[in-house]
């Protein structure tokens, strides 16, 4: 009974403690695991960054972007082309800056499109990036594909942890700020938001660009993990669709929902792909259909659902404990 009472009085401390545990786990992870596991976790963290940054923009404003692969691939190619000329940290900055500028440009042109038209455009953008990269690569560099010099796994892992933490933290801070309120109002009713003084174009374009920065930087860091890329690998639509699946599975209503979805689906993807090869998409499809049918608000949506069902039970338990205590005194 003490545990229940502790939980109910210190409810706010719980997520903080939980976060601390995760951070301790992540920072000490390389000390007691094999190189392969570090690579797996690095890749899961890449998914976390992509899913969180996708939900940062699309989850709140309701504009379903299929563009993550475009910015992710841009980051990968920035690394592939610059790694022999510039130091790694500088390439990270450049990857982020290019993605930001590109997203602002794309955003200004396309964010006036609503609903499905915006989605179709962003999908077309990824296809365009694949083709134009391949064209330029074969014409200018006279080759197809780029090999990337490996970087120490542990270093990559820690950089990825830093990026993932930054993505979650910034999403959380944005959600709590007036900027987040503006984004939510756009998702709720864009016309009303505009008439209530929200500069909707600015909010949309800037948020789109911030989320693109994370996708681009994730691409820069992912490149040495992938070792070899060509335009089809770097701009694979897989990197656009997976973050959406992950965000839906985890639940878009909170900052941490997409993290949960990314960890589950990311792990599933890596293990299934190595064991079932291309059949893993089949399993994936089944999981997705199940989630959309039974968990429309994602895994995070389970919490209020369970609270409704278990709430009476817990309060009964608590009352029972109270009665027992009264009897003792």
């Amino acid at each position: 009974m003490d545990i229940i009472r502790f939980v109910s009085t210190h409810r706010k401390l719980l997520p903080v403690g939980f976060l601390l545990l995760i951070l301790i786990f992540l920072t000490t992870f390389p000390l007691y695991t094999k190189a392969y596991d570090i690579r797996v976790l690095t890749f899961i963290l890449i998914w976390v960054v992509l899913a969180v940054s996708w939900a940062m923009f699309s989850g709140t404003t309701g504009y379903m972007s299929l563009a993550p692969a475009a910015f992710f691939g841009l980051g990968i190619y920035a690394m592939a082309l610059l790694q022999r000329e510039l130091p790694f940290p500088l390439i990270i900055a450049i990857g982020g800056a290019i993605s930001f500028a590109f997203a602002v440009l794309i955003g200004l042109v396309t964010l006036r499109l609503r609903g499905v038209y915006f989605t179709i455009f962003t999908f077309g953008l990824v296809v365009f990036m694949t083709e134009i990269t391949q064209y330029l690569e074969t014409r200018l560099l006279l080759k197809h594909g780029q090999s990337i010099i490996p970087i120490d796994n542990v270093t990559l892992f820690y950089i990825m942890v830093g990026l993932a933490v930054a993505a979650v933290l910034i999403t959380y801070l944005i959600r709590r700020s007036r900027w987040g309120l503006a984004m939510l109002s756009i998702g709720g009713n864009e016309e009303a938001a505009e008439h209530m003084g929200v500069n909707t174009t600015m909010v949309k374009v800037f948020t789109f660009a911030i989320s693109a920065v994370f996708m681009g930087v994730a691409g820069v860091i992912a490149a040495p993990v992938l070792l070899y890329v060509n335009s089809n690998i770097a701009f694979s639509t897989f990197y656009s669709f997976m973050p959406i699946f992950m965000a839906i599975l985890g639940g878009m209503g909170t900052a941490y929902g997409p993290v949960i979805g990314a960890v589950i689906l990311g792990y599933l993807e890596i293990t299934l792909r190595s064991q079932l090869f291309n059949y893993f998409m089949l399993v994936f499809g089944i999981v997705m259909v199940g989630v959309i049918l039974f968990l429309p608000n994602g895994i995070v949506g389970l919490v209020p659902m369970l609270r409704d069902k278990l709430g009476p039970l817990i309060s009964k338990l608590r009352k029972g404990g109270q009665a027992q205590q009264d009897a003792n005194t």
Partner: protein, 245 residues
């Protein structure tokens, strides 16, 4: 003093003129009623003033400043706020957050979080919804949602408030409450233009009435003048009696 003035205001949808060469003005501190049959162009005129739609020709001036070419959020910050015929609340937020959006973004100066919250709470109290501030907006009745829209518009500190069919779909008790609310808003010194089909409300509280039909202004005057105007009775009030009989 004229707070809002329109000259030759015209809006074409394709080849059809939804609003055609309308000259109008709104005096500071008054309640101007805007009436007319369905499709007369009342809401279109509102959309032109608040810049939801661009003008085809003509010009609209607010306190001497041209409004055309500005974006809606700029116009809101200048001091022209509005509500919508079909309520446009933010369904993904509780009542208080709905109002907070207006408090944070609707004024030209940056406002602190605490100040915005107190503004929002005051506005909710003003419209009589302070008990509901944490309720999900979709749990509110239509009448209450319209009050939230009014509160949301009020926290943007408007000098001119456009009310688009505030009373449509309300019960008769709610209509008298809404009428009382509109007079209280005017008493705060806010000029009001209201589109309304509820004649009792328009005739009860507006100082002046303007009548639109097929996008053209056909009459303008005090409530008495309008209710005795032959043309208005023929196309608008008369239609109602026929429908009623």
């Amino acid at each position: 003093m004229r707070i809002l003035e329109g000259r030759g205001v015209t809006k074409f949808f394709g080849g059809m003129a939804a609003v055609s060469h309308v000259d109008f003005h709104v005096d500071q501190g008054e309640i101007l009623g805007l009436i007319g049959p369905n499709g007369a162009g009342k809401t279109t005129l509102f959309n032109l003033i608040s810049a939801a739609l661009p003008l085809s020709s003509g010009e609209i001036r607010f306190k001497g400043n041209k409004l055309s070419g500005l974006k809606p959020h700029k116009i809101c910050r200048m001091g022209v706020s509005r509500t919508f015929q079909e309520t446009k609340v933010f369904p993904n937020m509780p009542v208080l957050q709905n109002v907070l959006v207006g408090a944070f973004f609707g004024t030209p100066t940056r406002i602190s979080g605490a100040a915005a919250a107190s503004e929002a709470n005051q506005a909710l109290e003003f419209v009589g919804l302070s008990a509901m501030s944490a309720t999900p907006i979709n749990d509110l009745t239509l009448g209450s949602q319209k009050r939230v829209e009014v509160a949301r518009a009020l926290v943007t500190k408007p000098e001119l408030l456009l009310l688009d069919e505030l009373m449509a779909g309300l019960t008769s008790t709610e209509v008298s409450e809404a009428m009382e609310l509109v007079t209280r808003i005017r008493d705060k010194g806010i000029t009001i233009v209201m589109v309304e089909h509820v004649m009792k409300a328009i005739m009860g509280i507006s100082a002046r009435v303007m009548v639109l039909n097929h996008g053209e202004k056909i009459a303008e005057g005090t409530c008495d003048e309008i209710s005795r105007n032959k043309q208005v009775i023929d196309i608008y009030l008369g239609e109602k009696t026929r429908a009623g009989s």
